[in-house]
Symmetry: C2
Subunit: 265 residues, 2 copies
Amino acid sequence: MTSNDSLPANFAWRDDLSAEIGVTERGFVVDVEGETIPGVLWSPRPLEEITTPLPLVLMGHGGQSHKRADRMAAIGRRLARRQGFLAASIDQIDHGERGPLTDEGGDDTRYRALWQRPGLIDQSVAQWRAVTRALAALTCVDDTRIGFWGLSMGTMFGMPFVAEEPLVRAAVLGLASLTGNSVDRSGIRATFEASAPRVACPVMWVVQWDDERFDRDGSIALYNLLGSAVGNGNKRLIAFPGLHAEAPDESTVLTREFLGRELGR
Amino acid sequence: MTSNDSLPANFAWRDDLSAEIGVTERGFVVDVEGETIPGVLWSPRPLEEITTPLPLVLMGHGGQSHKRADRMAAIGRRLARRQGFLAASIDQIDHGERGPLTDEGGDDTRYRALWQRPGLIDQSVAQWRAVTRALAALTCVDDTRIGFWGLSMGTMFGMPFVAEEPLVRAAVLGLASLTGNSVDRSGIRATFEASAPRVACPVMWVVQWDDERFDRDGSIALYNLLGSAVGNGNKRLIAFPGLHAEAPDESTVLTREFLGRELGR
């Protein structure tokens, strides 16, 4: 066990969750203004054996999913095993252990209600920033090499966070748009329009070409709004055929390897 | 030296060009209906040491360039060194040793004239196919794992070839469009419209977002026309900001690794 002596005051480890070959998986909680935010940290080796701080990828799951859904866990493990990075996934507001949105898919009445809540984005950004600062303070984390990975709802909460948080040096964003059903229902368009130009780090923008929730043309328009303006614009777009939920494994490979290049030595 | 005994009748090696760490570079010529087509083959090790046939990537250079231009050589060497593949680049019609279009850039009068020549595309397709068959017959080549890499003029000549040649199992195409200056001047639109739907192999389509020669919207429209229709459509689009000639090294990395995944074991 890593000693708690040098941990941030608002941070605590939970029981070890599990480990598989080459990857350690560890629960944690961060307290932010009275709310406890649970997360999972994947690591290429036991934390007490990490003598040189490692890059960290923050992961934001999609709508009606949770921090340790199969896809999140697969990406977290691969970031650890293939890139040698740390990866942290948290339950986003009302999701996972922060219920009631604990299941993937299903009735979305409560999900729609979430997006009507005043101050939702500000609350999420504040929480993401607090989690980032707590994790960045761990001795195993290289706070000069922190990235973000979040698509769909991961981008709805993640883009305004990435726009605000200078510790994030590279971001995978997308499966989002300025137009489409999921944009209209959530009212997220104004948030995207305000935050996209202020995203300054390198971005890989992901599009599902036949996305039925986030329209393609609006997704391209949102990509165009991204700041990320070093030189020719340090951003790239990758697109695959298929519906919103049909992103192929190759999309995961390319986004992971992008973060590998940006945050690696 | 590899014995010439088992070579295709229309194929001959030339002198070794050079070698750098881990990569062998070898010249060759293929005779096609009285015309001699010169090429370069990059290999991860001396050909006589290859006991298990390797995947092969055919490479078509851009306009007013040649088979061994810096970018071609860099990609060929990396395909050999990083992927362990063979890579072959030929001088395309009127280019390189097949002059007069030997220099990159400069006056394009002769280049424009090339595209007015009747039967140009049919001639190029026939030559590409003959070169492919000659290389596929080499004992060092695994003829079940042949790919194509060609952008801009490499796609103008390459797309109709890939559409016709079943030995090509994966292709990197792009920096091309249904609209734009270079499309209008060359009259290539009809060729693209006819061949794109017949491209059946997995494709990575490359776009420079601010391409001044091949318009973005027309490039997206051409991507949409590509057959490659296994399941959801086994094609993906990658885009980077910048003009036609400003593709970043990352574009080369992603296209090379795509071929690595598609043609690797």
